[in-house]
Symmetry: C2
Subunit: 138 residues, 2 copies
Amino acid sequence: MNTHQVHTKWLGEMGFEHQGGIIKMDADAEFGGNNEGLRPKSMMLASLAGCTGMDIASLVKKMKAEIDTFTIDVEGDLTEEHPKFYHSVRVNYNFFGSDLDEAKLQKIVYLSVDKYCGVMEMFRQFAKVEVNINYLKS
Amino acid sequence: MNTHQVHTKWLGEMGFEHQGGIIKMDADAEFGGNNEGLRPKSMMLASLAGCTGMDIASLVKKMKAEIDTFTIDVEGDLTEEHPKFYHSVRVNYNFFGSDLDEAKLQKIVYLSVDKYCGVMEMFRQFAKVEVNINYLKS
């Protein structure tokens, strides 16, 4: 499996939670670990989600976009050969609300993607980055 | 301060601990956060340390290098302008032991740096990466 996936949940303000609150890094038993922590490469994806997520949280407030909450799912595809790196990454933004202003939310996402998110800029240097936005009734 | 620093400690086998065991991401009060979690960009550095650290842990075992423990310190310098990314990164490996085989440890580090560490390969696409090795009597 050369696709890693990270799910990041917004906790309000600038807080984000990432897969159960652990930061210890560990590997699978297959690679000599005990599976008691995050894979370091997945942390790159969490970093990307957190960086753009903080932009979104900030811009939603500034631009008075009405949302109940949002989540970000990031998927990265690794190369087959060592050193294995993410050659393709998909960032999926999921906005939840009863009356979402889709145009405003799209503007917010692309302000982060194109202008503010430094981690996204780093990813663009080694990966093809695809952005998707989902608007969900809540 | 455009220099971020991450300290990663080897826990034995493939386990690593990173600054107090938290994974929650948060920002400084200055940026609307409560300082209750990791900065997403610092997580990139933790990812780099964990990735190369797991290589080292594995190779130390395979190549029977005698060490008591090791730590990795990673520093990254951010650009001034948005999107802010790490343009220069320093990875410092610190090996502790009573009778360290420096040549063997150097070989181990560069097997990770040049051949195995995918996160290092990603960093090289956007940053100048500098590697230092310290041998410390313990």
